[in-house]
Symmetry: C2
Subunit: 330 residues, 2 copies
């Protein structure tokens, strides 16, 4: 077994005795690794962010694990059966969607996840940049290969918005809500964006890459002045930092659940869950589509996920894409 | 001017005097090319398939041009303003869609066309192979960059089916008709298939590659035994070969017209033209979609291009994709 393998053994041993002291001698004997090697591995783990206490006579104690996305840490306690079980982790990348698309082009299987601590070229919808500072958010992409026609592709982004909203609520209790189609807001400010990219024939999807950017521990000053009035983070909403790792694991779990439900039962249960989590319907909206700007009241989403808006002359219009502005509730 | 350039000058000169004899001496003087060089260019043009008669004292006469897709021949007499004005021509390729996708990934502009005499790896929908023997068909792909949401992408394939059907009717008078969504039939046999591939975000298309395979001069024995009962060619329907070049030019013209109409006025005029050219509505059909096999009567296509089918219990179902079998009319 290589050096990296025996380091993992030491970490595993400490994790299995979390909160307790374990002696270097005992580890050395049980794992069949020299005490010098154990000492070196402990130093390396500390550099990776593992807090490990050492006391003479009592030995070593794992106090905390780092709040980042080391594949072993993600896998440990992950409740999914396939989603995220293949995980590519990077300290820094241009864009996780770009890497995921290249992996998908090379045949990567459904459920493959690419996650990074930092994106230098993160992108949002309509070619906008997406701020992704190091260690402050959950910036990742998932490869799906759904058995649907291309016209149904928008459904997967609604599913993803429902899943992430549920995970935020599960882990933080914050009242996250969805602005059609898939922005996640807390109190009118955007906390999460989803960028979906597709390679397809008309009748069948080759792959969908769903890119998710969730602002976890960004401070107000980290947002650009233009974005500051309309963006938020979980830290800003809670006035405390949030552990990213369990939240990420929860998101993966919710995504797997939602995807399986969608593929097995179709869009109806997703539509229902989306409506329960949305903050768009019943509101006055302005929608910018390719062809026009339209004002009215958001009535409903239809069986395809398109937004139905009633205009001033009571005409009802259907939008399968577009950017919605919500008029504040007085 | 290089050798290829002066060969083009000779061809241009002959073309401008098509049907007439022009003396080598006159060409030599007017084009400022030696008589030996002119003789060499005539030999080269003959090898490319140009039929050029030579008579002592009278000179040369262009009798016919080859029926293949040399870019200069395609450009000569092409009525489009942008579609096909950038043309990649290959004697043989794996698949024109594959090349077009690579060109589109590298930024090729809208309207770029890839055409070949022969595909060794031609593909149809659902991963099927598409027979594309040398010189016998029109095997080509067009790059489009429409300003639409991904959910509207199926509309472009209906537009393409309408355009190709119209071009076949224009050039041959044959009663070509469309089987939903975009197979072109003559008398229940398929003469043309369309394979559309997409790279997109949910809200915006990056590009669409529309691949078109039209069986022009295939003999019955060139089809595989399995395909023979359901496939046809223009030659088989007319009992004579058809010139591919003017037909190809006509298709490009009809595609440009249809695309501009669609982008300017939306799907309504395409839907109307599709209905006029279809052989599906009102017929008993069986439709294989991802989820099921459904039997009923094809009623209509809706404003998105989806097929509405009335089942046996009078329930009306909507299909945005699927493969239709038509029950023969008794």
């Amino acid at each position: 077994m290589g050096n990296e393998g025996s380091k993992q053994q030491v970490l595993e041993f400490l994790r299995n005795h979390q909160g307790e002291y374990v002696s270097g001698e005992e580890m050395s004997r049980i794992l069949d690794i020299s005490r010098t090697a154990i000492w070196k591995h402990i130093q390396a783990l500390r550099l990776e962010g593992y807090e490990i206490e050492a006391q003479t006579r009592r030995g070593y104690r794992l106090v905390s694990i780092p709040d980042c996305f080391y594949p072993d840490e993600v896998a440990s306690g992950l409740k999914t059966s396939w989603l995220g079980r293949t995980l590519y982790y990077y300290d820094e990348v241009g864009s996780t969607n770009q890497i995921a698309k290249e992996l998908a082009d090379d045949g990567a299987q459904e459920g493959t996840v690419v996650i990074t601590e930092c994106q230098t070229g993160g992108r949002g919808r309509r070619g906008r940049t997406w701020l992704s500072p190091k260690g402050k958010g959950i910036w990742f992409s998932v490869i799906f290969r759904p058995r649907i026609a291309t016209a149904q592709a928008p459904q997967i982004t609604l599913m993803a918005a429902v899943a992430v909203t549920a995970a935020i609520r599960d882990e933080t209790g914050l009242p996250a809500g969805i602005k059609w189609p898939n922005d996640i807001l807390i109190g009118n400010r955007k906390v999460c964006g989803i960028l979906t990219e597709i390679k397809a024939e008309i009748e069948a999807i080759n792959y969908v890459v769903v890119g998710i950017g969730l602002n976890v521990n960004l401070e107000e000053t980290e947002f650009s002045p233009e974005v500051r009035p309309i963006a938020t983070s979980l830290l800003l909403e809670l006035n405390r930092p949030v552990k990213r790792l369990p939240l990420f694991q929860r998101i993966l779990y919710r995504l797997e659940q939602g995807y399986e439900l969608w593929q097995e039962e179709g869009f109806a249960p997703i539509q229902k869950a989306w409506k329960e989590a949305n903050v768009t319907l019943g509101r006055e909206v302005q929608i910018n589509s390719w062809r026009e700007v339209f004002k009215g009241v958001a009535l409903d989403i239809d069986a395809e996920g398109a937004l139905l808006v009633k205009g001033e002359g009571n005409d009802i219009r259907r939008f399968s894409s577009g950017e919605v502005s919500l008029r504040p509730i007085n």
